[in-house]
């Protein structure tokens, strides 16, 4: 085998401070706050990257108050003026993209090739896209004079920290809202760097406030009476709690939650590309993707061919140092998530399906999980029903299109799905019957700011991205 020498991206392009305060009303406060402090680690090495402040109730009060007082002038600006700020932010993100990509890989554990080639370009594209909408809102189809809602409380997950921030902040600002955003506890750094970008762009104080902390901070924020709109991306369990707490308050709510997407491969599929799509569907970002294609449905007549190709392909996946440019699979984001993956895969092994991983050496330090597939899975197994949120694929089979549709829809979730076939009429017929927010045909995990994203059933409600994404922020 032709061995590639290590090709690490330089860590020196990013300068992480030893400790960070909250970003409220345009300034970084002194580190430490009423909620105390916590550490964020590099999941690939368990090394502490920085100490971050946990926002307590008084901090949340101040952040919401700052957003409230900024709302009047910000929403009164002509759309074209707001657009200038968004364009400026987008350009600064592009200029600083190498630094931000390295930072994201350090704090999250994702491979640098993904943060560099996927996350950062999409982050910038999102700001550019919504900057373009800011002065065209009256033509967006939401009435003659669409108005912003007010202060948006936004809570985002750890799987795509900066990208989820962009999905939340770009449409909110374009429509004239102000925001208080809380990044995930295990990945707070890129949001704090984004706060610095807001300063660099001369964004008026209070328009964007970044408060860090764990679940308790998030709860305080979304339950705060000064908040008009709540946007959450994360687990279905937390989403349910938020829906409960917001009920009856008059706050507007959008939720983007879990998924258990079916990736359906028909026997007339372009097999080599389908296998790439299967790999990309479940092993991209270590499977920490809410729309991951975690259930593979293969037509029985193509089963042997697909599985043989898939195993051969999986053997070439390179797991290791996220900063190495040749790494395909990075670290699991936290010890807690690793434990959750272990519990579910152990259950999978015990319930009967056959487990397989390619030969794969895991580093001694850090949180790692080898790419894994389970074959012989049925709808009754836990690993076919529960979201694992890791590099674990459950393989099921079907005989007819009707059976594929039935199995694909037989889940409490409905975020995404994939269809692989060379027959266009079959793709259209199947897509029409799948109950999922996003359906990819002969591709998977493709994102674009112009395309709305969101779920059916327990995968949440509301749409982010595209023209549809404006609606969640207009009154």
């Amino acid at each position: 085998m032709f061995e590639y020498a290590p090709a690490p991206e330089s860590r020196s392009v990013v300068d992480i401070a030893p400790s960070y305060g909250l970003f409220i009303n345009g300034t970084f406060e002194a580190p430490g706050s009423t909620g105390g402090v916590f550490k964020t680690v590099n999941p690939a090495t368990e090394e502490v990257l920085a100490e971050v402040s946990a926002a307590g109730p008084e901090d949340v009060d101040r952040a919401v108050a700052a957003a409230r007082s900024a709302f009047g002038p910000w929403s009164a600006l002509p759309g074209a003026e707001r657009a200038k700020y968004l364009f400026r932010i987008a350009r600064i993100i592009q200029e600083r993209s190498r630094e931000l990509a390295v930072l994201e890989s350090l704090d999250n554990g994702k491979p640098i090739k993904e943060s560099r080639d996927v996350d950062l370009p999409l982050v910038a594209a999102h700001f550019f896209y919504y900057a373009g909408w800011a002065d065209k809102l009256e033509y967006a189809g939401f009435g003659e004079n669409p108005r912003p809602i007010g202060v948006a409380a936004q809570v985002i997950p750890w799987n795509f920290p900066l990208l989820m921030l962009a999905w939340k902040i770009a449409p909110a600002l374009a429509t004239g809202n102000t925001v208080v955003l809380k990044p995930a506890e295990t990945t707070p750094l890129s949001a704090l760097f984004f706060a610095d970008i807001c300063r660099q762009a001369d964004l008026p104080p209070g328009v964007v406030n970044i408060i860090t902390g764990a679940g308790e901070t998030g709860r305080t924020l979304v339950e705060h009476p000064g908040v008009d709109k709540v946007a959450f991306t994360g687990s279905t369990e937390v989403g349910r709690q938020i829906a409960r707490s917001v009920a009856g308050t008059g706050k507007r709510l959008t939720l983007e939650l879990g998924g258990k997407a079916a990736n359906i491969v028909f026997d007339d599929a372009p097999i080599d590309q389908a296998v790439e799509g299967i790999v990309n569907g479940i092993f991209f970002n270590q499977g920490h993707v809410c729309c991951a294609g975690s259930r593979l449905l293969v037509q029985e007549s193509a089963y042997d061919e697909v599985m043989e190709s898939l195993k051969r392909r999986m053997a070439t996946l390179r797991l290791g140092d996220p900063l190495d440019k040749n790494t395909d699979i990075g670290a699991i984001n936290s010890a807690e998530q690793l434990e959750r993956i272990r519990v579910l895969t152990d259950a999978g092994s015990q319930e009967g399906p056959e487990r397989w991983s390619p030969p794969c050496e895991l580093p001694a330090q850090g949180f790692w999980f080898a790419p894994t597939i389970f074959t012989g899975v049925t709808q009754a197994h836990r690993i076919a029903r529960e979201e694992i949120f890791g590099p674990v694929l459950s393989v099921l089979t079907f005989r007819t299109p009707a059976e594929a549709i039935e199995k694909a829809n037989n889940t409490p979730y409905g975020l995404s799905a994939g269809i692989w076939s060379e027959k266009g009429s079959l793709i259209l017929a199947v897509a029409d019957k799948l109950r999922a927010g996003v359906i990819w045909a002969n591709t998977f995990n493709k994102f674009d700011p112009t395309s709305p994203f969101g779920g059916y059933k327990e995968s949440g409600y509301g749409r982010e991205g595209g023209r549809h994404g404006l609606e969640a922020y207009l009154g």
């Binding site: 085998m1 032709f2 061995e3 590639y4 020498a5 290590p6 090709a7 090739k113 080639d117 007339d268 599929a269 372009p270 097999i271 080599d272 590309q273 790439e276 799509g277 070439t316 440019k325 040749n326 060379e422 002969n442 591709t443």
Partner: protein, 304 residues
């Protein structure tokens, strides 16, 4: 009639190739970063895989002798530099090259069969082939009749390849698909299988005489074809991208692609070649850079 039907059914029964998907995969593989020791090993392997080529109307005995000398010792200043895989010339030039290469281990390839268009009667193509072999070529690069292929006359193309293979005797047969004229990846996959079924020892992308020559996605489709063909029949077939591969960086992308598609078994000059002329000097320049730490000017590398 039955043979025609079988061949058509087999070729059209192959899985399709999704254009967007195959191009994305090739582009993703091209982002691999090959540095230091890995780069040094890759450069030497790439040099051993070069089919050093001149296919010009202006070729003369003097010109091809010089090329052959270079093939034997690409870097006169460094005896650790390996020789190339083969020299590739027109049939009329074969005797002059044969004198130089005799006993060296460098193969002697000749294009034949009315290269590059293939538009000649079969007996002319066969005579062309036999002459080249008789003059000392141990590898023949033939062109398929693209017109016949595109018209769906697969049996015609198949029979031509079979006949040329027979005329080759012990010489290895490389079948040029001229993928730039086949237009679709599905056609590339079908033509690859057609050539392999007819007995090709190698499948080659291009003549270098049409605007679109070797590309990474086309080569990826061909590598998948030889991989699948071996899995089905047990016979291993080589791959040769040709035309347009000019830099070390390009060559390394191909090696990465072999590595991650078909693996070790094809990472060998017996199973993979680059049809190229200017590539060799860039490989030599990069090789020198790795050993000395600085780039030498073009005058420090020999003209072909």
């Amino acid at each position: 009639m039955t043979a025609t039907l079988d061949l058509r059914a087999s070729l059209h029964g192959l899985p399709g190739v999704d254009k967007v998907g195959v191009e994305a995969r090739a582009a993703a593989l091209a982002t691999r970063s090959v540095k230091t020791t890995a780069k040094a090993a890759a450069i030497d392997l790439a040099i051993r895989m070069v089919d050093l080529t001149t296919l010009e109307g202006a070729d003369t005995p003097g010109k091809v002798r010089a090329l052959a000398a270079k093939a034997l010792r690409p870097d006169p200043a460094d005896s650790s530099c390996p020789h190339v895989g083969a020299v590739c010339v027109y049939p009329a030039m074969v005797p002059y090259v044969a004198e130089v290469l005799a006993g060296s281990g460098v193969h002697l390839a000749s294009v034949a069969t009315a290269f590059p268009s293939g538009q000649a009667p079969l007996d002319v193509k066969l005579a062309d082939t036999r002459d080249a072999v008789a003059a000392g070529a141990d590898e023949i690069d033939m062109v398929i009749s693209r017109g016949a292929f595109l018209a769906g006359r697969y049996d015609h193309v198949f029979e031509e390849i079979v006949a040329v293979k027979q005329a080759c005797g012990d010489a290895h047969l490389k079948v040029i698909l001229e993928t730039g004229e086949l237009a679709t990846y599905d056609n590339v996959r079908r033509a690859s299988w057609l050539a392999m079924l007819a007995g090709a020892d190698f499948i080659k992308t291009s003549t270098g005489k049409v605007p679109v020559a070797a590309t990474l996605p086309v080569t990826l489709v061909m590598l998948e074809a030889v991989r699948d063909f071996r899995a089905r029949t047990g016979r291993q077939v080589g791959v040769k991208p040709a035309g347009g591969i000019k830099t070390t960086k390009d060559a390394i992308k191909y090696l990465v692609m072999i590595n991650e598609t078909v693996g070790d078994d094809w990472l060998d000059p017996a199973w993979f070649r680059f049809g190229a002329s200017s590539l060799l000097n860039d490989l030599l320049m990069q090789r020198t850079k790795l050993t000395t730490g600085h780039y030498a000017g073009p005058d420090y590398f020999t003209l072909d």
